[in-house]
């Protein structure tokens, strides 16, 4: 009995003394750390928005969005801190967009992708291709930005994330209207379209009858078979069920799912512009 008391008492005393020590050091360093982080943050904002006077922070999922205001309370733009799954762990980066919807800055804060390979995402050569793009640009691999071979996963992840987040910033904070596709304006017929999947182009044939999508057939694809089955036929089913392209594309194969949606959009767009090559 006495022995147990002695043992617990020793542990308790060691614990209490440690706690006291830690409290002391914490109280001493905490304000220094907070001050330094605030200064770093301000510097980061000023790099993109030199006339910043005030900021307001919003959170969507895991991403932080700082709305940047100047001294007369005009919205200058948004600086986001975005977390994106890379090749090996989370890539955290800043994306800055000015009030006209143009990307003005991209900076990797931290990543754990392979040194010498995936860390190409930190190079100005890779990052500069995003600068000046707007939320209306495709920001699509092989279209207006390039991935880097050898580091396809890291660079594709960044490209997809920037595209998605540019949309989120523009539509959520900069009050741009998202263009919603009007399917009822499409004349009856079957149209072909092409979208970029994860691996290669995906070609689809979309059948429209009476302003409704009635069938989506994939004509050509080169996706990884195991992943592809996650998005097909699920994604065409969703599009047909909701009669919309603004569907939830989170599947086990988001890259392929996006490819299918983009291919359908491409087909319908061509149909409306009248240049649609009607098949059959």
């Amino acid at each position: 009995m006495r022995n147990i008391l002695r043992l617990s008492l020793t542990l308790a005393i060691v614990g209490i003394v440690s706690a006291a020590l830690l409290t002391g050091v914490y109280n001493w360093t905490e304000p220094i750390i907070a001050e330094r982080e605030a200064a770093e943050y301000l510097q980061a904002v000023q790099e993109f928005f030199p006339t910043v006077a005030d900021t307001r922070q919003e959170t969507i999922e895991n991403n932080l969005f700082d709305l940047i205001y100047d001294s007369s309370n005009n919205l200058l733009g948004v600086m986001a801190v975005i977390q994106q799954q890379g090749y090996d762990g989370i890539i955290t980066y800043n994306l800055a967009m000015d009030s006209s919807g143009k990307i003005i800055g991209l900076r990797i804060i931290s990543h754990s992708d392979t040194p010498g390979i995936g860390d190409v995402i930190t190079t100005p050569g890779f990052q500069s291709q995003f600068i000046g793009k707007t939320y209306e640009d495709p920001i699509e691999k092989g279209v207006d930005v390039d991935s880097v071979s050898g580091a396809t996963v890291s660079t594709s992840a960044m490209i997809n994330s920037v595209r998605q987040m540019a949309g989120v910033i523009a539509f959520t904070f900069l009050s741009f209207e998202e263009e919603i596709f009007d399917i009822t304006a499409v004349p009856d017929g079957t149209y072909e379209g092409i979208g970029r999947g994860l691996m290669d182009e995906i070609a689809v044939a979309v059948t429209v009858e009476g302003g409704q999508i009635t069938a989506i057939k994939v004509l050509r694809q080169n996706e990884t078979p195991n992943y592809y089955v996650e998005s097909y036929p699920l994604i065409p089913e969703r599009i047909i069920a909701e009669q919309s392209l603004e569907i939830d594309i989170k599947t086990g194969a988001t890259g392929s799912a996006e490819g299918i949606v983009n291919a359908v959009r491409d087909a319908l767009q061509k149909a409306i512009e009248g240049g649609g090559e009607e098949s059959e």
Binding site: N3, R6, L7, T10, L11, V14, G15, S18, L21, L22, V25, Y26, T29, I32, I33, R36, S110, T114, P115, G116, I117
Partner: protein, 206 residues
Amino acid sequence: MSNIYLQDISRGIVKDNPVFRLVLGMCPTLAITTLMVNGLGMGLAAAAVLICSNVVISSLRRFIPDQVRIPCFIVVIASFVTVIEMLLKAFQPGLYDALGVFVPLIVVNCIILGRAEAFASKKPVLRSLADGVGIGLGFTVSLLILSTIREVIGSGTLLGETAMTVNLFGPAFEPMKLFALPPGGFIVLGLLLGLVNLIFKRYNIK
């Protein structure tokens, strides 16, 4: 009298070198020795924790009952690690970011618990201090050697990512990135271990 303390210190650097002789603490050794500044920072951080924990554990050795010694050691070590972590974050943020998760992981660095168990819990305070300094220096020197070799071959620089970076081979040089990656760590460590064994054998150091 002072002789024995000097002996403790030199033993920690050479004969009981934690990396090359005891082969302890391999996880941080392999992971962070990509740049000299990281190797030096990690070595000094671990040395600081080791010296503090050795002194405290040695001075408490008569009060801590045998049955609860390991939890007590861990609490002491963890406290010092947390202190070091907060100090680094406040005053050396660059180094703190570079060392990342390996700072909190000093808690489970087997060198530190190993010295607490094998030395500090049995020997007087001053000798434990000397042992902490010796082993800490030995660890720092080893990390510095490893990281220098890996940085020169793997990045082509000296003191990279500091204000004093020296670019050794000019811009046209394509560094052998393998050495900045984990396999390079194993290769350099293995060769150095062999070399150290060879030297010890040749000069019959026991």
